[in-house]
Symmetry: C2
Subunit: 365 residues, 2 copies
């Protein structure tokens, strides 16, 4: 399989390459040499990914002449915390890392968010490269420049915008990806295809089987198409003020569902459910045809993303939506899709949302 | 006295006003209305400044229609800490501040650095205005966009670049400024004049008496000239990669002196001593004439910045220079001035630095 290379161009000073293919860990140092003058590379990874891929990444960086260090955090969302960021800052200082140093985030979304945040704030910002090792991180977290840690009062409340200097999506790392993690990635791919338009959407319909079988060529194509779409959106709206809003498709409901379930429901499953919910609501709150929601269900089902079986009361979900709103302080806004590639954001009457939440709850009784 | 207004232009998307004059706290809301669409203003101040100026700032903001909140931290460098930043982030979330919110840092350098850091990282960045209340903060911390908190392993190791949307230097706040704080400001003004050139330098020589008497018109002029100089430097070099290096004049030695004294020696006194040291070293390490160092001594003396009387061993200072270097990982670089407005950066042979440290130590025996 040949490696694909995408060039992300955000402005004249901010461009970087993303490679999607094989042997990218082995060649990590060679490719980073083209992107940076840094001489020291600090790998940040977690206790799941470290044992699998840290040595290969270290070797790839050393071979190209980098002085390599590594910092391993506990696997899991709990590491996306300011106390862990503080430990990493201290460790960087102890290692004597200066502006000649670069961070390399090796792992899934948590590692990418944390490594990016630490890189963007250590000494007012040092360079950061990302090596996403989950499908979701490859298609989502590795692009857009959003970094974050959680507060007890809410997820992702602290963070920065930090563009990486290079992203390497090595498909080999997907071979060890748990099934639940594939689902998270598929939901993001489906969302991208629905927002992007007919070509990607049709391709995805034709390739759900290959993706479910974890076919590497299909995964590569899904990643490249998702990244191409997202790079275009982000380039138009680096600081998240307009077009980028479309990426929240399914997320208004998904955030409430995740919070109500105390994050037991995985993000991908929640987003898939959120897209289903938005399509229903859009038939009344916007001009979406019912046939679109049905077609979307077929696609989501075909990717193995089953409807959420657990139920939560409409009241509880409604409250979570407003809890989320409180800190975001936007209106209760939804992204609606009426056909592949056609989307709009709509401020919806809370009473109407409540009715659809009740319908959602009743369908589960 | 009329208020002076400077326009800082960093790039086409980043411009902001600085006002230097009277009644700026009272008019804070009116002026901020021109700069922002935010509806909520969160004043961050400390336990020294709060009792003096918080009510006036609150009133000025309320009158202009802002919903006003305030968060007060303990006065002192100890508040420039990640634990304090975390408390502020949590407080912002609890107050329901979203992207409709703005931070207003009311205080000296510590408050400005902390408020700027919190603003730049809360929800990936909300707007920040600064109301510096010390001479040093007016001429230094309010421009350049550098924010920071300290780590146990070093000062200012965590931070961001964050440009304010507005800066109000209300001269009235200087009436309560302690003498030691005036000294800190004078050192920064002297540094700016020496780097800027003949006009500012000559003006400063002619006005040391007025400044020592805390004459408001003289203070205003000193602030405006320092800001004009610094705005020019920063505009050429927003991310601190070249020209901005000149602002480190006196700082290589000053940082070692501050660290060796466990920060008992105030920053201004340390920088003044650092400029004296650099001028001596420059007669051998560069082409600076001895007469420049002597003229500089006269100016620094006239501003009441006495030579540091305490002594520290050359060995200890040397080690601190390298401790600083270790994390910065630059060479042992000095900014040298050979005449007002003429400066260069030079990597100096550590052995030569050592000799001048020994001379410095011996002069104190």
């Amino acid at each position: 399989m040949s490696t694909r290379r995408l060039k992300v161009v955000l402005d004249k000073d901010t461009t970087y390459d993303i490679r999607v293919g094989n042997r990218l860990l082995t060649n990590l140092g060679v490719h980073l040499r083209e992107a940076t003058d840094a001489t020291k590379a600090v790998l940040i990874t977690d206790s799941n990914v470290g044992p699998l891929y840290l040595e290969k990444a270290r070797a790839g960086l050393s071979k190209a002449g980098f002085e390599v260090f590594d910092l391993v955090v506990s696997a899991g969302e709990e590491s996306k915390d300011i106390a862990v960021a503080a430990e990493l800052w201290d460790a960087l200082a102890m290692l004597g890392i200066g502006r000649d140093g670069m961070i390399v985030g090796l792992g899934g979304g948590v590692v990418g968010d944390l490594a990016g945040f630490v890189a963007s704030t250590y000494m007012r910002g040092i360079e950061c490269a990302l090596v996403p090792t989950s499908l979701l991180a490859m298609v989502d977290a590795s692009i857009g420049g959003k970094t974050a840690v959680n507060l007890s009062s809410g997820k992702n409340l602290v963070g920065t915008f930090k563009q990486p200097i290079y992203v390497a999506a090595d498909l080999e790392t997907l071979r060890t990806l748990p099934a639940a993690e594939w689902e998270n990635g598929f939901a993001e791919v489906a969302k991208s295809a629905l927002l992007d338009g007919t070509d990607f959407y049709q391709w995805l319909i034709d390739n759900t089987g290959a993706l479910l079988a974890h076919d590497e060529a299909a995964a590569q194509q899904a990643i490249v198409q998702s990244l191409t779409f997202k790079a275009r959106v982000v380039a138009h709206d680096v600081k998240e003020k307009g077009e980028r809003e479309c990426l929240n498709y399914g997320h208004t409901f998904a955030h409430a569902l995740e919070a109500a379930s105390k994050y037991r429901i995985p993000h991908g499953r929640a987003v898939a459910e959120g897209m289903r919910f938005a399509a229903r609501l859009a038939t009344e709150a916007a001009d979406s045809p019912e046939t679109f929601g049905e077609a979307q269900d077929v696609l989501i089902d075909a990717l193995g993303l089953k409807p959420v079986a657990e139920t939560f009361s409409a009241d509880e979900l409604y409250e979570w939506m407003f809890a989320d709103k409180k800190v975001r302080n936007s209106e209760l806004r939804f992204v609606f899709v009426s056909a592949p590639g056609k989307w709009e954001t709509v401020a919806v009457d809370p009473d109407l949302v409540k009715i659809y939440l009740i319908l959602w709850e009743q369908a589960r009784m």
